[in-house]
């Protein structure tokens, strides 16, 4: 059945609420209203007031209570309205959710999924456009997941909810309603025309820790996730390079085999993400590739990323790493 990402995420939560009475959902405006992006629309009405409810505007309290619920034996799924607002919960995520299993030697653990919309492309300005994934990838004990299409969104979210470790589930908000290749000047595309919008209505999952090779190629390897996967596909076509495009899907634990196999084949690598460049997850990917594939590299690994500034409202398209910048990096990688 054709779904956009919002519908796919909604379906994943609907399926899990029906399947497991220990699953419950809460967050700011997620209850009666169904969330500012409508991802939980109808779930309270269908499953009941205590299974999907609104919370006070205290991200730290949302995550802390979710940890307590996880310790009790529930599987809370919480929404942080925008990834830009996850920082008040940072201590509970880093010092608590991520550490509980380890510090108690498995005596306690807190399964929990933290859903949050991230990324740019919507003129959201500095506090509705951030991509904080790198921060979470540095924290031992957290898994970080980023879907790039409706099928994966549903399958990965179900896996995240069923996972016994805390999962940060970052949703690329720019592509909630349609794929986006970075060509903002062109007409918006609906998901319905995209093959990966064909999503089973019932239960299924996509395993965490496995990347997807969206395009096979021999010239160079592109490592991307979220919205940038679509930008990379368009950029490769425009740059006229036979790129192998890997959608990482899970950042931690990352699918190292798929990455290494590809770079050993192509000898060239371009890494793209929206997040600011310095100490972004692209740095870790670059280091991993260089450590694992050094003798195969024929050119410097390229990083295309957000500039090291806050996300400026007026300069949405100068900031967003679009096809022009990505294609240029591909060409550099081919020349190099």
């Amino acid at each position: 059945m054709a779904m956009n990402m919002i519908q796919a995420l909604n379906s994943a939560m609907d399926v899990m609420l029906a399947k497991d009475p220990n699953v419950l959902i809460f967050g700011e405006d997620v209850g009666y209203f169904g969330g500012v992006f409508r991802a939980t629309e109808g779930l309270q009405k269908k499953h009941g007031l205590t299974r999907c409810f609104d919370t006070p505007i205290g991200e730290g309290g949302i995550v802390a209570t979710a940890i307590g619920m996880g310790a009790y034996g529930l599987r809370p799924v919480v929404e942080i309205q925008f990834a830009d607002y996850i920082y008040p919960a940072f201590d509970q995520l880093v010092s608590e959710a991520a550490r509980l299993r380890y510090r108690s030697a498995g005596d306690f653990h807190a399964p929990m999924t933290v859903r949050t919309p991230y990324g740019g492309g919507i003129f959201g300005g500095q506090t509705h456009s951030q991509s904080p994934e790198a921060l979470f990838t540095h924290v031992s004990g957290l898994k970080t997941v980023v879907p790039s299409n409706p099928y994966d969104a549903k399958g990965l979210l179900i896996s995240a909810i069923e996972d016994d470790d805390p999962v940060i589930f970052l949703e690329p908000k720019r592509i909630y309603n349609g794929p986006f290749d970075g060509h903002h000047e062109r007409a918006v595309q609906p998901w319905s025309k995209h093959p990966l919008s064909d999503v089973p209505e019932g239960y299924f999952n996509v395993p965490l820790g496995k990347a997807a090779t969206l395009r096979e190629g021999n010239d160079l390897t592109v490592l991307a996730y979220g919205t940038m996967v679509h930008v990379a596909l368009a950029s490769a076509a425009e740059a006229g390079v036979d790129a192998e495009i890997i959608d990482l899907r899970t950042l931690v634990p990352v699918d190292i085999e798929t990455i290494v196999k590809s770079v050993e084949k192509t000898g060239r690598c371009v890494i793209v993400h929206e997040a600011t460049r310095t100490s972004g997850y692209g740095a870790e990917l670059s280091a991993l590739v260089q450590e694992n594939c050094f003798w195969h590299l024929e050119a410097p690994i390229e990083r295309v990323a957000g500039w090291d500034t806050p996300y400026p409202h007026a300069f949405e398209w100068d900031y967003f790493p679009g096809p022009k910048r990505v294609a240029a990096a591909m060409r550099r990688a081919m020349e190099g």
Binding site: D29, G31, D54, P56, Q126, H128, P312, H313, F315
Partner: protein, 410 residues
């Protein structure tokens, strides 16, 4: 020990949802003038009743009554009326501009104008305000040009914030208006810090901050009250209880269990609960708290009881979660209408003058907007120079930003 009654989880829900008839009959509105005004040096624990009362000055006939009556002259009242009306006219115009696709986002303060305007008049020009995104009335009261506000909303080349901020996230140090943050509540403890600095320096300026009732749930609310209490910071901490936080009613912020003003009690701070649609009550409460702060007696928490008459923002659709004409049913009325009636009652104002002033302000807004639009709206006309995107991350631009600017220009 088993066969004990099972527990159950309580989730607060509002009285009325879409489809229901709006009805505030359970809400008991005490008569104006019934609450006594204590001396500004009253001990906090002796006036805890004020945290549960509702300070009102304008009675149902919009006459000023009781000991909280600030006894303002017509000139001040007219300044207030004008600023509230200009704020509303500005909001209406900018809201339309967003609907016309001229910018990405807008937020109105309709129905809450007294909260900002009366406070701004009761404060002194040097006092520093740490607002949320719904106190544009402060800037307007302090005569910040609406033209500049419009340029900010349009992110054009005349935008004082160089196109970097979401519309309405104004900043003007010269007008004692702190840079608005997109993260709610962060300004509350920052205002306390500013006030501590003023006290540290032996200055006589105080700080004031505003957050919504929903935002009281953030840890920063607690930090603000705690630090303000411990260090007796000269600051006024305002909670604008407009009943809604986007789609979430105030019960989810705790309103079913206690008033927001009563949060002050546990910190040994005075808490005042005020009719936020009563210009004179807001003025009087602010004045009381300001005098107290300037007398080195520390902070006051003020709950401004009001109603968010319109959507949360242009991204919101309130008809999805509350009865459509709940705003009209709001028992505390409209702050502009009430002050207008009050002035007329004083014989200092007339419907004709009101009508004329309204026309004048709408025309001022139209003219300023024409000028602002002629410079540029979001995505059209003249944007700020793109290279400025890399400035002000640090005081001096480090090598990596210079290099990135080079890449962009390449």
């Amino acid at each position: 020990m088993k066969n004990r009654k099972p527990l159950s989880l309580h989730v607060p829900v509002p009285e009325h949802r879409p489809g229901d008839k709006p009805d505030f009959s359970e809400l008991k509105v005490p008569d104006a003038g019934t609450v006594k005004r204590p001396p500004v040096n009253a001990r906090a624990h002796e006036i805890t009743d004020l945290a549960y009362a509702l300070i009102r000055v304008l009675d149902n006939g919009q006459k000023a009554v009781g000991s909280w009556n600030p006894k303002l002259g017509p000139e001040t009242l007219k300044r207030g009326l004008r600023a509230m009306m200009l704020t509303r006219a500005y909001d209406d115009r900018m809201y339309r501009a967003q609907r016309q696709g001229k910018t990405s986002f807008y937020m109105k303060s309709t129905g809450e104008e007294a909260v900002s305007v009366a406070a701004a008049l009761a404060l002194e020009p040097g006092d520093m305000c740490f607002p949320s995104y719904r106190q544009q009335g402060i800037l307007i009261t302090r005569n910040y040009p609406i033209f500049e506000m419009m340029c900010q909303v349009y992110s054009n080349v005349k935008d004082p914030l160089k196109g970097r901020q979401l519309p309405i996230m104004y900043s003007s140090k010269d007008h004692g208006f702190f840079s608005i943050s997109g993260n709610v509540g962060t300004q509350f403890p920052q205002a306390v810090g500013w006030a501590m600095a003023s006290a540290y320096k032996g200055d006589d300026r105080i700080a004031a901050s505003w957050i919504g009732e929903g935002t009281t749930a953030e840890g920063d609310f607690h930090h603000a009250l705690n630090f303000a209490s411990v260090y007796r910071a000269p600051v006024i901490l305002n909670v604008v209880n407009n009943q809604w936080a986007i789609s979430t009613f105030s019960g989810i912020a705790g309103a079913d269990e206690a008033t927001f003003a009563s949060r002050a009690i546990g910190y040994g701070l005075p808490g005042l609960r005020v009719d936020g649609n009563d210009f004179l009550a807001v003025y009087a409460a602010t004045q009381w708290a300001a005098e107290r702060a300037r007398a080195n007696l520390g902070a006051t928490l003020i709950e401004l009881y009001t109603y968010r008459a319109e959507g949360h923002s242009t991204s919101d659709d309130p008809s999805r979660y509350r009865p459509t004409d709940e705003a009209k049913a709001w028992p505390l009325g409209d702050p502009i209408e009430r002050l207008n009636r009050h002035l007329i009652g004083l014989g200092a104002w007339s419907d004709a003058e009101q009508e004329a002033l309204h026309k004048e302000l709408v025309e001022d807004v139209r003219a300023a907007n024409k000028q602002a639009e002629s410079i540029g709206t979001l995505g059209t006309g003249q944007p700020p120079p793109v290279a400025t995107m890399f400035e002000d991350v640090f005081k001096e631009m480090p090598w990596h930003l210079a290099r990135q600017r080079g890449e962009l220009e390449a």
